[in-house]
């Protein structure tokens, strides 16, 4: 198979895909693996990907369904969770604490609910678009979205109550 623009495509979309994958997995290594898996599948059907209205959307769909599916979660010898990466500078500590809370809250969600939250409020997809990506009905998306938001709220509120100093709301308004 010739490259046929695949390298340029990867250079263009790897960053956005990694960000989505990172939100879905909460882990650098696994995010890279997930993107790698999606890109291998895309390469296998590269001609079809190129014909898609949005090749990025096509590959993102592969990525999300790969994550949600049981098979992806069973595959992994490569699935490893890391701790929060070290970052230099005390001025970043607040942001790190906040993002760690969000990461922990996302982990409380089921893979599908997490995918819905990420697609709806990170990718800014509509309910219908999210439903198409996940292969489910818009009403299912709506249900997952409501439950996901409620679960996030519960988790963040509980964390704030347990440790007011780490309140996510306090940090964002300070």
């Amino acid at each position: 198979m010739s490259d046929d623009g695949f390298t340029d495509f990867v250079v263009e979309v790897e960053g956005p895909l990694l960000r989505t994958a990172y939100l879905l997995t909460g882990d650098h290594g696994h995010a890279e693996d997930l993107v790698q898996t999606a890109l291998v599948k895309a390469h296998r059907h590269w001609a079809k990907v190129q014909r898609a209205d949005s090749p990025l959307a096509y590959v993102r769909r592969i990525l999300v369904t790969s994550h949600v599916s049981w098979r992806r979660r069973m595959s992994t010898s490569e699935q490893v969770i890391e701790t929060v990466p070290d970052r230099p500078g005390d001025d970043l500590q607040d942001r790190l604490a906040t993002t760690d809370l969000v990461r922990a809250a996302l982990r409380e969600l089921s893979p599908k609910a997490r995918a819905v939250v990420v697609l709806r409020w990170f990718e800014d997809l509509t309910e219908a678009e999210t439903a198409r990506v996940l292969g489910c009905s818009p009403s299912t998306v709506s249900t997952h979205a409501a439950r996901g938001l409620a679960a996030l709220r519960r988790h963040l509120d509980a964390t704030s109550a347990a440790d007011p100093d780490t309140s996510i709301y306090a940090r964002r308004t300070s």
Binding site: D3, T7, V11, Y22, G29
Partner: protein
């Protein structure tokens, strides 16, 4: 709340790993060319375990207490990466054994296994994390390596080292990360025997039946007796009929490294170029007729494929490398004949 979530998600996404661009593209192309399949060792192993457990309803530790004495003393706590941890195991001080482990081939012999071909660090970039005697007089070794910007590992086994140590790969080399514990499980005879190598000072935890990796639920995980971050012990295997697989995690002063699967093999079976393998097509359910059409064609070709929840076709079973190639050849033919290719 929705606005907050949007902002918070973007904040978190800013911590995502940076892409490697052309290097990633090259890696992906290599992976595809090397092996257009995906090995799901544990999916198959779980099935094998289910059969075993059907015969042995209650699996207990038959290997006796943890052989902590076999774990070499030494090592220090606070090591950031397993790669930098000292070699452990009863043969850690045996220079010849360490040299054999360092020089063992990472090629699995399972066709051109993607991971095996890609994850083959140069000997100078390898480190023996563990080499020692385990149950039944076998010698196991865990070797880590750095290659293509990735940290990888490979388990090696010599089931009968009496005639000189000759280590063979116990699985396909895989990626890992610095803090992750790495385990190998022998399921021979339906009696699980587990070795886990973690960073010195880490407490290893184990669950025989993990169904997901990305939840905070660690129900069922229990501490394993360990010495210097190394576990050598008999363990329970998953109960019959449960689609789950054994998982390990580790805790340290920095927190918990959540679960990952352990690798496995069956030391009672001949080593060779075959393994439980799962292959799946990459098609997605954009066209609902794809699955049934291709499934019919593949069944006619002799493949008992199923349609996964995400719409892709899959086959789980004992496949040689040639079998995997045959699967993809038939899938290509079916996709062509039905107009999908």
């Amino acid at each position: 709340m929705s606005t907050d979530v949007r902002t918070l998600l973007h904040d978190l996404a800013a911590d995502a790993p940076r892409g490697r661009g052309e290097e990633t593209a090259d890696l992906v192309v290599d992976l595809h060319r090397a092996q257009d399949r995906r090995r799901l060792r544990w999916a198959g192993v779980a099935a094998a375990i289910a059969v075993v457990v059907a015969v042995v309803p209650v699996l207990v530790d038959r290997s006796g207490p943890t052989d902590a004495s076999a774990v070499a003393a030494g090592g220090t706590t606070g090591v950031e990466s397993l790669f930098d941890a000292p070699t452990r195991g009863s043969l850690a001080d045996d220079a010849d054994a360490v040299a054999v482990a360092l020089g063992a081939s990472w090629q699995t012999g399972i066709t051109d296994a993607a991971a095996g071909q890609i994850l083959d660090p140069a000997p100078e970039n390898r480190h023996v994390a563990f080499v020692g005697e385990v149950r039944g007089g076998q010698v196991w070794a865990l070797v880590l390596g750095r290659t293509s910007g990735q940290l990888a590992y490979s388990w090696f086994v010599d089931p009968d080292p009496a005639d000189g140590l000759a280590l063979q790969p116990a699985g396909v080399p895989s990626r890992t990360t610095a803090a992750a514990p790495i385990g190998l499980l022998d399921v021979a005879g339906g009696s699980g025997y587990l070795v886990v190598v973690a960073r010195p000072g880490d407490q290893v935890r184990y669950s025989p039946a993990v169904t997901g990796l990305f939840t905070a639920d660690t129900t069922g995980f229990e501490d394993l007796p360990s010495a210097d971050g190394v576990v050598q012990t008999g363990v329970q295997l998953p109960p019959a009929g449960v689609q789950a697989a054994p998982g390990i995690s580790a805790t340290s002063g920095a927190g918990e490294v959540p679960a990952r699967w352990v690798d496995s093999f069956d030391s009672s079976r001949p080593f060779g170029p075959s393994a439980w393998t799962s292959v799946e097509s990459s098609e997605l359910p954009s066209d609902p007729s794809y699955g049934p059409l291709i499934q019919r064609c593949m069944v006619d070709a002799g493949w008992g494929v199923s349609v996964s929840v995400n719409g892709s076709l899959s086959f789980d079973g004992l496949l040689t490398g040639e079998g995997v190639d045959a699967f993809w050849a038939d899938l290509d033919r079916c996709e062509t004949s039905t107009g999908y290719r």
